[in-house]
């Protein structure tokens, strides 16, 4: 049984020409990155796949320049979050209900859980910063320290923003229930 390599070692191997190392890295993070991207992009799976593919493109292009000041995991998440942010800035990402009627987005590429719809709408009304903080903090297995590092903000700032964002989210959801 082969010893498991760290992310940094895998990246180094890939830069050295081992394509399978990238596959191994992807096996660790691709699904998680897709989930985060999907959440940040209003459940648009097609866009999430574009973003994650672009993330791997960056790894391929700039892996050689990776300086190790942060972990590979942090880098991957940071690229994904930034790509989602850029995508939302460049084009309006339709809401889920719009997506369901959209011809451009096939049904199988859209998250369709009805339970999440209200929450997505409430999140969409939050600012991009608060949305990112909430989704990143509640992303599977993500610690607050890691989230702060990915967003490049101090831990205290992250916590205060998270608190404010949750308060706002709860208020929005309560308002929806009342109406």
């Amino acid at each position: 049984m082969a010893a498991s390599h760290s992310d940094e070692q895998l990246l180094k191997r890939f830069v050295g020409g081992d394509r399978d190392a990238l596959g191994e890295l992807a096996a660790r993070y691709e699904t998680a990155l897709l989930g985060l991207a999907c959440g940040l992009l209003n459940g648009r799976r097609d866009l999430a796949m574009d973003v994650v593919q672009e993330t791997w493109m960056r790894v391929i292009r700039y892996g050689r320049s990776f300086n190790g000041r942060s972990s590979v995991k942090t880098w991957l998440y940071r690229v994904t979050v930034n790509q989602c942010k850029n995508l939302r800035m460049k084009r309006r990402v339709p809401r889920l209900e719009d997506d369901q009627q959209s011809e451009e987005a096939p049904q199988d590429l859209i998250e369709t859980e009805e339970t999440g719809q209200e929450l997505r709408e409430a999140l969409d009304r939050l600012g991009p910063l608060k949305r990112s903080v909430i989704l990143l903090c509640y992303h599977n297995g993500m610690t607050h320290e890691q989230a702060a590092e990915i967003l490049e903000i101090p831990l205290g700032t992250l916590k205060s923003r998270l608190h404010a964002a949750l308060t706002e989210l709860r208020a929005a959801l309560a308002e929806e229930v009342q109406t």
Binding site: G39, R61, A174
Partner: protein, 433 residues
């Protein structure tokens, strides 16, 4: 909020960022690898533009920039070179600016403004024209409307004048063009009175002459002209210069000679070559001098009276004495100013100014027999030869301009490269994230 209590909210949020669908096939990292390989092969992936400056590209861009700049510079400098007047254009521009200042000055200052033609000699015609314009400003216009003494005398008119017995002591000059116009009125005036009145007590005239000569040997004529001036008689060469080489040489001189020797000096100058054009001008400043002298006498009388008054009033209050001294001081200052003006007029009147331009003989035009028409092949050959020559000049210009841009703009190149590298690093940092 009942529906979304704290725990369920956290669970839903976690669920939002969970990928519930099947993993994409092929895997996204494989797609990324394929896309990158296509890009490297030159098949650009359209849809996401990434600025990826590589060193060869930056170098190529810099080379293209330099070559473009060199070509533009060469094209801009080329017409001047072909006409052969590149150097003289700047000189002409300077002359224009100098002459623009000349008209407001007096004669002496205007002559001092007379430029040398330090161009290639081609601009001489313009120089001459400008010289006429320069001397033809308000000062000259004012005079041309006055009496004969105060007007300007053209060459033809002057030739008639010098033919008049007694007008010039040295008789008729050799190279003067014969009179081609009838001069009844002016000639009658000339014959009835002397143009150059040598008696300063009667008339004070500032005299100026310009002469354009054509000489076979410009340098020899230039040297002879310099020797015409008699240094012993307070005469001097105010300005002299020779431009161009060999057959293209052109000389200009500004001579200051005694007014009573003006005619003799002009005759000597005429012997140096063929007179192309000649102009004489005179400004009668008798009235000004008389006025100055009257003012001077008056001021001196006032000064004398004040001095006498001061002698008589030894016992006057101190304030009055001081006032008196102040008045005497101002009167004396006025006397000094008037004296200086009078002396200046005296200098201008006593020394005439002669501007001489000596040009080489024009090259004889090649005699062509209209019967012998050039064959098309000969014409083509000449055209090709000319084009080849022009092409070489163009190449030389381009090389020179390139060197100028490369070396002269070295500091800017360094700055540009530094900025480029900084921008590249910045973009790369952004692209990584």
């Amino acid at each position: 909020m009942n529906q979304h209590d704290h725990d369920s909210l956290e669970a839903e949020l976690t669920q939002l960022t969970t990928w519930n669908a099947a993993p994409p096939a092929p895997e996204l990292w494989r797609r990324a690898l394929d896309a990158d390989a296509r890009q490297k092969r030159g098949a650009a992936v359209v849809g996401r533009w990434v600025l990826n400056w590589s060193a060869p590209r930056a170098l190529a861009a810099a080379i293209v920039l330099v070559i473009s700049a060199a070509i533009i510079t060469a094209i801009m400098t080329r017409p001047a070179r072909i006409r052969g007047t590149g150097a003289s254009l700047e000189a002409m521009a300077q002359m224009h600016s100098r002459y623009a200042a000349a008209p407001s000055l007096d004669l002496n200052e205007a002559m001092n403004q007379t430029p040398h033609d330090d161009g290639s000699g081609v601009g001489g015609g313009v120089w001459w024209g400008d010289a006429q314009n320069g001397f033809g400003h308000p000062w000259q216009r004012e005079l041309s409307g006055g009496s004969f003494h105060e007007g300007e005398v053209t060459a033809n008119l002057y030739s008639a004048m010098v033919a008049t017995p007694g007008l010039f002591t040295d008789g008729t000059p050799q190279q003067i063009h014969s009179a081609s116009v009838s001069l009844p009125g002016y000639l009658a005036d000339v014959q009835s009175q002397k143009f150059w009145d040598d008696s300063p007590e009667n008339r004070s005239v500032i005299r100026k002459a310009t002469m354009e000569l054509i000489a076979k040997d410009v340098r020899a004529a230039f040297a002879k002209a310099l020797h015409i001036v008699s240094e012993a008689g307070d005469e001097y060469v105010q300005d002299s210069g020779i431009t161009g080489v060999d057959e293209d040489a052109q000389a200009t001189l500004t001579l200051r000679v005694r007014a009573d020797r003006l005619g003799a000096v002009l005759n000597e100058l005429r012997e140096l070559g063929v007179v192309q054009s000649e102009k004489l001008m005179g400004e009668d400043v008798t009235a000004q001098i008389v006025d100055l002298e009257a003012r001077l006498r008056n001021e001196r009388r006032v000064e004398q009276e004040l001095l006498e008054l001061m002698d008589k009033r030894h016992d006057a209050p101190l304030k009055e004495i001081l006032d008196l001294r102040s008045h005497i001081s101002s009167v004396r200052q006025s006397i000094e100013q008037i004296t200086a003006q009078r002396e200046r007029f005296g200098r201008l009147v006593s020394l005439a100014t002669i501007l001489v331009i000596i040009r080489p003989e024009p090259k004889p035009a090649e005699e062509t027999n209209p019967q012998e028409e050039k064959k098309i092949s000969a014409y083509f050959g000449e055209s090709v030869a000319d084009s080849w020559h022009d092409g070489l000049l163009y190449l030389a210009d381009s090389m020179a301009a390139t060197l100028r841009i490369l070396i002269g703009g070295l500091i800017w190149w360094v700055v540009a490269i530094a900025l480029l590298l900084a921008a590249r690093a910045h973009l790369q940092r952004r692209a990584m994230q």
